[in-house]
């Protein structure tokens, strides 16, 4: 196979369910490996996305590290895709947006049941939290959106094979879920 397509994936403030759904391609993963090459992804050891054709992003943006990773992906991927509810609109983690961040931290580390030595973790090693969980399109330009919580393996398959075969990706009606 002459030119494999380079695909990178990452999870920001997500639950990893979108990645699980990608792995739900099951045996189709073997076929996919013939067509694409995985760059930075949970299934490889590669650290920085570089020179990629497609970047798949799961999860919204909740801390400074997420912002950094997302910008790096935009810079290094020709096509950037928001995968799943969290990336598209913040998803479930964005439920914290209606509550002051301090209250969330207090609940977990000061006022929780059975908490000893109450204090808010504050070490320099911990990245700064954003006040709100943001959809990724507020930070960088996004080329495609794959809705669902998570999108099904068939969605990944249709999307990637369309691109690989030079078609404009299009999801059939029954593949589009907003669950």
């Amino acid at each position: 196979m002459a030119n494999k397509i380079r695909v990178a994936t990452t999870s920001l403030a997500g639950c990893f369910g979108c990645h699980m759904s990608f792995l739900d391609l099951d045996e189709r993963l073997v076929a996919l490996a013939e067509l694409v090459e995985f760059d930075r992804s949970p299934i490889t050891d590669i650290e920085h996305a570089s020179n990629c054709d497609i970047g798949l992003i799961e999860g919204g943006v909740c801390n400074s590290e997420n912002v950094h990773t997302l910008r790096e992906f935009r810079k290094n991927c020709k096509i950037l895709v928001a995968v799943g509810a969290c990336a598209i609109n913040g998803g479930l983690p964005a439920m914290r947006n209606f509550i002051p961040l301090e209250e969330c931290l207090n609940e977990a580390y000061l006022d929780g049941i059975g908490v000893e030595n109450p204090q808010i973790p504050s070490d320099v090693e911990l990245p700064l939290l954003l006040d709100k969980v943001r959809p990724i399109h507020e930070v960088v330009k996004i080329d495609y959106y794959l809705p669902g919580c998570p999108p099904s393996a068939d969605v990944f398959w249709k999307f990637l094979t369309d691109l690989l075969e030079g078609r404009e990706p299009e999801l059939d009606y029954e593949l589009v879920h907003y669950d």
Binding site: C15, T44, R96, I99, G112
Partner: protein, 497 residues
């Protein structure tokens, strides 16, 4: 054992080394080391750097949303969160575990066996098998499931298909592979149809056979690498988990058993609804993950490990024959009452995978799955506690509601939290025994990764798990200047930049 390395007595003039998986997709944890002028490790910590705030933001929601809300903590073990929450809200509608309809109880167990099977297959084959098959210090380009599929196609494809089978069990019971719906307060929302049952029955014998093969594989790998596999990252600890009333291995419902490092009983058949009398969690400033400990033993001595190693160590037997035979071999491997080898987590994990496959077969032949009463009702209560053995260990969900059924308080202790001290101790053991006094090298990095990976940690019970920790190592002097930096490149090369 290595607690003295948690905090250096004097941080002046120490070099800071960060093993930071910033670029790792699921990288929400990192390791920091402080070294003296002879590269001797003075401090080593595993930090969990992500915070989400679930316990606060689910307050104000009606309780019946909980099983579908909290499963979004983790796309890898969503069913475990779904069921722990369901067990808690059963109590809110006045249904105790013994009053759950038989069909609902069995459907939930089937669902959970599917969950544990798929998660264990995922961790072993997609995540750890490259290390174990190619070696801890093999070429980075090799260390991924794609390379396993290319070089060991039989093993790789079997792993993919076992995980698929677990996912299909989940889909048949809950409608979707990830974040389905199945459990509701007091029961389940549907039974299994005959077609669904037959579909799952068709492949189960093959899955059991592959599970047997996997146990043989891990045993071979473990025993071929002795004494290394018994020593590496190994620490002596207490162990905690649920067991059945007769002491058998249990993944869905039971009493809490805790044993000490010598195998002596700390507590047995403890009612998990009183977990707050058994364990508390300590907060430390440098990580978002808390440190649970047994109150009776105190903060210093009371930490414990959970998950496959703890469960297989703690139980008296396993109630499926093939897994029980595998357990006997496993226990015979250790001269002590308990197996403390951290890498033996992998072995124990595959014994459980086999147990899940055998149990699924047993359940599929049970007519109760196909119908019968599915939901029980009772008197409203204001507090519910659900505990389950998730793939990674004991998982606690605790909720309080007001008279309008709105959640007013929540406490979640996820499995990986209970392994926090264990993972930190293993990191420190590796730091002290394998890399203290030596120059920074790539094997050093992978050794730390292998130690952490054995626990199958779900850092922030979500974002970790599938995959490796691509690393960048920076050496910074006390003044903050960068002295040395190592980077792993995509082609596997290590470069000093």
């Amino acid at each position: 054992m290595y607690e003295h390395l948690e905090t250096a007595p004097n941080r002046d003039n120490l070099k800071r080394v960060v093993v930071d998986p910033v670029s790792r997709v699921e990288g929400h944890g990192k390791v920091s080391l402080l070294l003296d002028e002879n590269n001797k490790v003075q401090q080593a910590r595993l930090h969990i750097v992500e915070f989400r705030g679930f316990e606060r933001f689910i307050q104000g929601r009606p309780y019946w949303e909980l099983p579908v809300l909290v499963q979004r903590l983790c796309g890898i073990c969503p069913v475990s969160h779904h069921l722990a929450a369901a067990k808690a809200i059963d109590q809110l509608v006045g249904v105790d575990p013994e009053n759950l309809p038989v069909s609902a109880d069995k459907l939930r167990r089937l669902l959970h066996f599917g969950q544990v099977l798929q998660s264990h297959a995922l961790h072993f084959f997609h995540l750890s098998s490259p290390d174990l098959l190619f070696g801890f210090e093999s070429d980075i380009g090799k260390r991924n499931i794609i390379a396993v599929l290319a070089d060991y196609p039989d093993i790789g494809v079997q792993g993919v298909k076992m995980r698929k089978y677990g996912q299909e069990v989940i889909r048949m019971v809950s409608g979707k592979r990830v974040h389905g719906t199945g459990a509701i307060a007091g029961g389940m929302n549907k039974a299994l149809s005959k077609e669904e049952r037959d579909y799952l029955l068709a492949d189960i014998d093959q899955i059991i056979q592959w599970a047997v093969d996997s146990v043989a594989l891990i045993k071979k790998v473990h025993c071929a690498n002795l004494p290394y596999y018994d020593d590496f990252a190994t620490i002596r600890s207490n162990y905690l988990g649920l067991v059945k009333p007769d002491g058998a291995l249990e993944l869905y419902h039971g009493g809490i058993r805790a044993k000490n490092a010598a195998g002596g009983t700390i507590t047995d058949h403890f009612d998990y609804c009183r977990y707050n009398d058994l364990i508390h969690e300590e907060v430390r400033s440098w990580t978002y993950m808390k440190f649970p400990y047994l109150l009776s033993l105190g903060k210093e001595e009371g930490w414990y490990r959970v998950g496959p190693l703890a469960r297989v160590n703690n139980c008296d037997y396993i109630n499926t024959p093939l897994a029980e035979a595998a357990r006997m071999e496993f226990k015979a491997h250790s001269p002590e009452a308990m197996v403390h080898s951290t890498l033996a987590f992998h072995w124990a994990r595959l014994i459980e995978l086999l147990h899940c496959a055998e149990s699924i077969k047993g359940l599929l032949h049970d007519a109760d799955l196909l119908g019968g009463e599915l939901v029980a009702h009772g008197e409203k209560r204001y507090e519910g506690i659900g505990v389950i053995e998730a793939p990674r260990g004991t998982l606690f969900h605790h909720y309080q509601v007001d008279e309008n059924d709105i959640v007013t308080k929540a406490n979640l202790i996820v499995s990986t939290t209970s392994n926090n001290m264990g993972m930190n101790e293993s990191v420190r053991q590796v730091a002290a025994e394998y890399l203290s006094g030596r120059e920074l090298t790539e094997p050093l990095l992978n050794n730390l990764e292998v130690a952490i990976r054995a626990y199958d940690p779900c850092l922030s019970c979500a974002t970790h798990a599938v995959g490796k920790m691509p690393l960048q190592l920076e050496l910074i002097d006390a003044g903050g200047a960068l002295i040395d930096k190592l980077v792993k490149h995509g082609n596997g090369d290590i470069e000093r930049v």
